[in-house]
Symmetry: C2
Subunit: 396 residues, 2 copies
């Protein structure tokens, strides 16, 4: 195991302190945390069980599996009903106001925990954890840098994987393999329902305009009706774009990046629309600093799209997405969201993907996505990689 992937205790302490401060401010005595994503966030490992997190003091780990996890704060635990007894043994009163991940645990899990611990009041730990996770720690930022650099490396290899006569899915599979060979963890964590996809999206020609049930920027038909998103078995036709939007999951912290390739020359309109997206990224870099409102970014970009002549193609054609960017982290869709109604202001330590795209029916999608770190002075681009449309050689 690469120990670089294990966060130092000092970094975990920053997170713990931030989460405990939010919990205390919200009036919580303690939280019980059971989702693997938040257990990983707070401990650097994954176990099945619960973190018992008091608003002040040391957390306890109630662990069902793995059987070999030992340590001072580890309490072997088969079921939540045993937690009150374990707390009493340690002279910890069962908390009156208990927070749990009510945007993540099922209703029946909630009822079971409530019956086991019967707190007087409960609160939403999901929203506090998402708020804490929105501001990345120094170690987390290094994980993004590592992911983004690998991500750029793999995208550099993409043209060499193309062969004339390939279907979208055939091209996608070769990219998946190179992603994995370069260390992609494979898993694609998303928050909330209706966010299924497998590793990433590759869309060409008219499939880029296929509406999807899922809440991503673009759709696509997929290869099976049970997962209607992304690459299809359509042949990649000459004169169409290929947009690639994979997750840079080379660490637990994902960069998000889209790039556009062309099979042969494209109609001139495609290069113009693509340039609008590239220009939007330049504007974003120039005009954004800590304190910039996410809704302002959305609205300014919406205006630019409108004036560009590509308003009907912006963020989809048949179905248009209502956001132009989103926070990334352990989930691909974290706060803040760059949308019309956001109340969030950008803050140093946020990591945000910005993805203005245009769908040109029959040609395909154009536009790029980059992941940016909000610094004290502005934005730092993490996904540094050729941004123009790259023509694919007609190999093979």
């Amino acid at each position: 195991m690469n120990t670089d992937f294990i966060p130092p205790q000092s970094d975990l302490n920053i997170r713990l302190a931030r989460v405990q401060q939010l919990l205390k401010a919200a009036g919580g005595d303690a939280a019980l945390i059971s989702t693997d994503v938040n257990i990983y966030y707070l401990t650097g490992i994954v176990f099945a069980g619960y973190i018992y997190l008091p608003a002040e003091g040391e957390p306890l780990w109630f662990v069902r599996r793995p059987s070999d996890l030992k340590g001072e704060r580890v309490i072997s635990n088969r079921k939540p009903e045993d937690i009150p007894t374990a707390l009493k043994k340690r002279n910890i009163p069962v908390p009156e106001t208990l927070f749990w991940e009510t945007d993540q645990i099922t209703h029946n899990e909630f009822l079971r925990l409530e019956a086991a611990l019967h707190p007087a009041r409960t609160g939403n730990m999901t929203s506090l954890l998402r708020k804490a996770r929105m501001i990345k720690t120094p170690w987390e930022i290094e994980q993004f840098r590592f992911s983004a650099a690998k991500h750029a490396e793999v995208y550099g290899l993409v043209p060499s994987l193309f062969r004339k006569g390939m279907t979208e899915i055939a091209f996608q599979i070769e990219i998946e393999r190179v992603m994995r060979k370069n260390g992609s963890i494979g898993m694609f964590r998303t928050f909330g329902a209706n966010m299924n996809i497998f590793m990433g999206s590759l869309l060409s020609g008219k499939n880029a305009d296929t509406p999807s049930p899922f809440d991503f920027a673009l759709g696509g038909r997929g290869i099976h009706p049970c997962l209607p998103i992304g690459a299809s078995d359509d042949l990649i036709a000459e004169g169409s774009t290929v947009i690639i939007d994979f997750t840079g999951n080379f660490t637990a912290y994902m960069s998000d990046m889209s790039r556009v390739y062309s099979f042969g020359k494209l109609p001139e309109i495609a290069y113009r629309a693509h340039q609008v997206s590239v220009d939007m990224h330049c504007r974003l870099m120039e005009e954004t600093k800590p304190g910039t409102a996410c809704s302002d970014i959305y609205n300014r970009m919406f205006d630019i799209a409108g004036k560009s002549g590509f308003a009907t193609n912006y963020m989809g054609f048949s179905q248009q997405a209502k956001f132009v960017g989103h926070g990334v982290g352990l989930d691909i869709n974290e706060p803040p969201v760059l949308t019309e109604r956001s109340n969030d202001l950008l803050q140093p330590g946020m990591v945000v993907a910005f993805e203005p795209k245009f769908v040109l029916p029959d040609i395909g999608a154009v536009g790029i996505e980059n992941t940016y770190l909000v610094t004290d002075s502005g934005l730092e681009k993490l996904t540094v990689c050729e941004e123009g449309i790259i023509e694919l050689a007609k190999n093979g």
Copy 2:
């Protein structure tokens, strides 16, 4: 799109009738269904929104996305708060007893739906749907046959992918690619928390004994602490087994199959333990018929394992799984579960994976997993593929 993947209306009608019968028997007036897995089960497609399913009569589809989904029963819908008005427009009273997927939707989704529809009573639609889905329809069974045949075809290619000097993860990546090239949908649906894995598991030597937080038969360290399961970056050593357990997700209905390969000759104990598993499968085929209790199967197999001399290796060594098989379908872990405390009896139309495995520290895991269809007279093996330990040639 391959139209063979679209279920005929007659088959959907069987499912609808079964689910409505269960709903009526449980005292429900209607159900609101929002998970993609159950929407796919009832419609053959996936959309973001809700199925409004009355205990009698035609369902309505409240659809948020995709925008191009049209039809007689489709009602465009932005949020659940709009559902009561839409029902009233159609002279449908808001139901008094409303079932929803309380083992799948989050607590906060439940609260939102409750506030929007304020039923007098609510019930658990997850358990009714899992009960209905447990008995597969004729079309579903054909989907399993298709998946299982492809699954066997890919496993036949596995030896050709091995090269001396490979790590577990390098071997796994080549299998992933061949799975995908043969039509694997990629996505691996699981039910419940703590069931993460990427595509499948490949374990060799001592990594087969690494306890994992996840509730699968075997563990493994994985390549990153945020997903501690399956293949690691350990070299595959001579004298060790390689056990492969991928999901046959070539349709939405997944077959489950494990096979064992060896790099060079193994100690004799490995072949003996493997034969115990193969014999268990023969016993299962001989002794099982509709009406057999799942707990009986578990207990009989536990006894055989005990008498074989491999009790301490059965279903893990450092951490032992408490089941020896499970239903499969749209999720890889469906009822019934072959466990000590199951109350289920096998019924025709169930599809069950049986996976008696033995972990031999330092050598690796042995034993096979097959997927069986319960027929009127017994079991039919769906995953037909060489069952002995296959020695990998030292290519390259």
